[in-house]
Amino acid sequence: MWRRPFPWFIVAAALLYALYPYFADDVGLRESLLLAAVYIILASNLNLMIGYAGYVNFGNIVFFGLGGYVCLYLVTALQWNVIPAALVAGVAVSALALLFGFGILRLRGAFFALATIGVNQAIQQLVVNFEPWGGATGIYLSLDSYGSLGGPMQALWTTYLLIVAVTAASLLASYAIRNSKFGLGLLAIGQNEDAASVLGVPTPLYKAMVYSASAFLPAVAGGLYFFKSGIIEPTSAFNLQTSIEAIVMVMLGGSGTILGPALGAFLYEELRGFLLTAQSFSQFQLVIAGALLLLIVQFVPGGLLGWLHQHWPKTRRWLE
C-alpha cells in the first residue's frame, strides 16, 4: 500500500495539520482544528458503512460515546493512562459492535437505519441509569488525571496530536480497505447485496465486520476527546444530532470516496463555525444544514467528489 503516493500524501497532510497550530502556538486554531478532526474521524468511518456497504447508520455516534465512557471509566476508576485506555475502549466497543452487527444487520435498508436509532437511544438511556458511570451526571476527571501527560496544558496538546493521528489512521484505514478484497466485497454489497451474494461474497460476515471496523477508531477518538474535555455525560455523548451531521458530511463530500467524507467534514465544520459566529445566521445553523442535505440528496447524490468525477472523469484517478 505504501508504494502508491496517496498514503504518503495523507501522512504529510496529517503532519502539517498537527504541527501548524503547535508552531503557531495558536490555542484557538487548535481547538477549531481538533473539532474538525473529530468530525473527519466520524465521517470517514461512517463512510465505511454508508459509502462502501450502502447501509445508513443513524446511530453511529454511539461508538464515539461508548468509547468515551469506557476510556474515562478506565482512567478514573482504574487509574489507567489515557492511551491504553482509549485503545482498550476501541477494542471493547468494536467487539460489542461485532456482536450487535450479526443481529441488526439481518435487517435491510430502512429497517436497519431505524434499528440503529433505537440502539443509540437505548444505550443512552441505559447509561443514564448506570450508576458506575455516574448516571445522568456522567463522569468528571480531576486535574490529577492529566498528571501522566505532564499537566493539563501539555495534555491538551498531546490529545490534539493523538486525535490527529487517529484522523490520519482513519483515512489510511479507509484507503487500505478500499484497496482490499474486503473492501471490494463491501462495495459489491453496497451496489447490490443480492447480486454480491450470488457472486460469492459472504454478506452477513462482511456486514458485521464493517460495522465493527467502523466502530473502532471513533471509539478511540471518543476516549481521547472526552478525556480532553474532562467530562462526559449521556446527552453529549450520544447526541443523535451529531450522528446525523456526520451523515450530512459524508453526503456533502461524496460517499464512497476516501477523501470526500473528510473534505465534507472539514467544510461542514468550517461552515458551521462561520454560521455560529455570524450573528444573523447562528439561529439558522440547523436549517441551513438541513437545506444543504436536502439539496445534495435530491440533486447531487454523489456529493462534491462524485460531482467532480462525473464532470471531469480524469479527477477520479488522483482524487480518490
Partner: protein, 286 residues
C-alpha cells in the same frame, strides 16, 4: 392493585394518541414506501399550533384540532413536493435522508422562533374520579378525539372515492395508473393525510403534557415502536400498537423508575424489528 389498574387505564388513554401519531407514519409508509423521518417535527408543529390557538389567539384549545388537520394537510402536500416526490422509486436510504433533512429544517426554524424552552398550555377539562383515583379530563378527551379521528380516517379510506384511490395506489400503483387514477396526486394527498394525522396527535399530546421544540424526537421514536408493533403500513394495526405501547407504559410505571421506561421501549423496538419485521398485529399486505 387498583393503583396498577388506574395506571394501565391512563396508559391506554395516552396510547390511543400514540396510535394516532403512528397512523400518520404508517399510512405514508404503506402508500409510498417512505419512512418519514420528519414525523417528529410534524408532531411538534401540532403542539405549537395548539399553543398559538389557545395561548396567543385565546381561542378554545380544542379548536386547534380541526385547524391542525387542515393545516397539516396543506403542509404535508407542500413537504411532499419539496422533499419526497423526487425520492419515489429511489433507494429507501435516499428518502430517509431527504425526510430527515426536512426534519432538520423544520426543527431549526422552530428553534429559531420558539427557542428550546418548555411550553405549557393549560386546558381545563373536568376529570373522572373512581375509587380515589382521578383520570385527567384532558387524557380522556384526547383519547376520545384520537378514536374519533381514527374512525374518520377509516370512513375516508373505505367509503370515499378518493380514499379508495389511496388504497388502490398503495396496493398496486401501476394498476391504479392504468385505471385512470392520477397516482402522483394521490401520493401527494396521502402524504398530506399522514402529516395531518401526525400533527393533530401533537396537538392532542400538547393538551396533556408540557412540550418543547425538541419533544418531537421522543414521540417519533414512540411512533416507530408502535408502527413496528402494529406492522409497517397498516393503519388499523397502528391504533392497536399505540394502545399496546400505552398499556406497557402504564403497566411498567408502578414497577420501575420512570427513566427506565425508554429503555424498555427501545429494547422492544429493536427486538420487534428483528423478530417480527412484519409486526405483531400485521395483516398480510398483498
Amino acid at each position: 392493585m387498583i393503583g396498577i389498574l388506574a395506571s394501565v387505564i391512563d396508559g391506554i388513554l395516552i396510547g390511543a394518541v400514540y396510535g394516532l401519531a403512528a397512523m400518520g407514519l404508517t399510512l405514508i409508509w404503506g402508500v409510498m414506501n417512505v419512512i418519514n423521518l420528519a414525523h417528529g417535527a410534524i408532531v411538534v408543529i401540532g403542539m405549537f399550533v395548539l399553543y398559538t390557538v389557545a395561548n396567543m389567539l385565546g381561542l378554545h384549545p380544542y379548536g386547534a384540532v380541526p385547524l391542525m388537520i387542515v393545516f397539516g394537510f396543506v403542509v404535508g402536500i407542500a413537504l411532499y413536493w419539496i422533499g419526497v416526490h423526487r425520492m419515489i422509486g429511489r433507494p429507501e436510504l435516499m428518502s430517509l435522508l431527504s425526510t430527515f433533512a426536512l426534519n432538520m429544517v423544520l426543527i431549526g426554524l422552530g428553534t429559531a422562533w420558539w427557542t428550546t424552552s418548555p411550553y405549557n398550555v393549560q386546558v381545563s377539562m373536568p376529570g373522572v374520579s373512581w375509587r380515589g383515583y382521578t383520570f385527567t379530563g384532558t387524557h380522556i378527551t384526547a383519547a376520545a378525539l384520537a378514536v374519533v379521528i381514527a374512525g374518520l380516517l377509516y370512513l375516508l379510506l373505505y367509503h370515499t372515492r378518493i380514499g379508495k384511490a389511496v388504497r388502490a395506489v398503495a396496493t398496486n400503483r401501476e394498476a391504479a395508473e392504468l385505471c385512470g387514477i392520477p397516482t402522483t396526486q394521490v401520493l401527494a394527498m396521502a402524504f398530506g393525510l399522514g402529516v395531518a394525522l401526525a400533527g393533530v396527535s401533537g396537538t392532542l399530546i400538547a393538551t396533556m403534557f408540557p412540550f418543547t421544540v425538541l419533544s418531537g424526537e421522543a414521540y417519533q421514536l414512540k411512533s416507530f415502536v408502535v408502527t413496528v408493533l402494529g406492522g409497517l403500513g397498516n393503519p388499523a394495526g397502528a391504533l392497536m400498537g399505540g394502545i399496546a405501547l400505552g398499556l406497557i407504559e402504564g403497566l411498567a410505571t408502578p414497577f420501575m423508575p420512570l427513566s427506565w421506561i425508554p429503555i424498555v421501549e427501545f429494547g422492544l423496538f429493536v427486538f420487534c424489528l428483528i423478530a417480527f419485521p412484519r409486526g405483531i398485529f400485521s395483516f398480510t399486505k398483498a
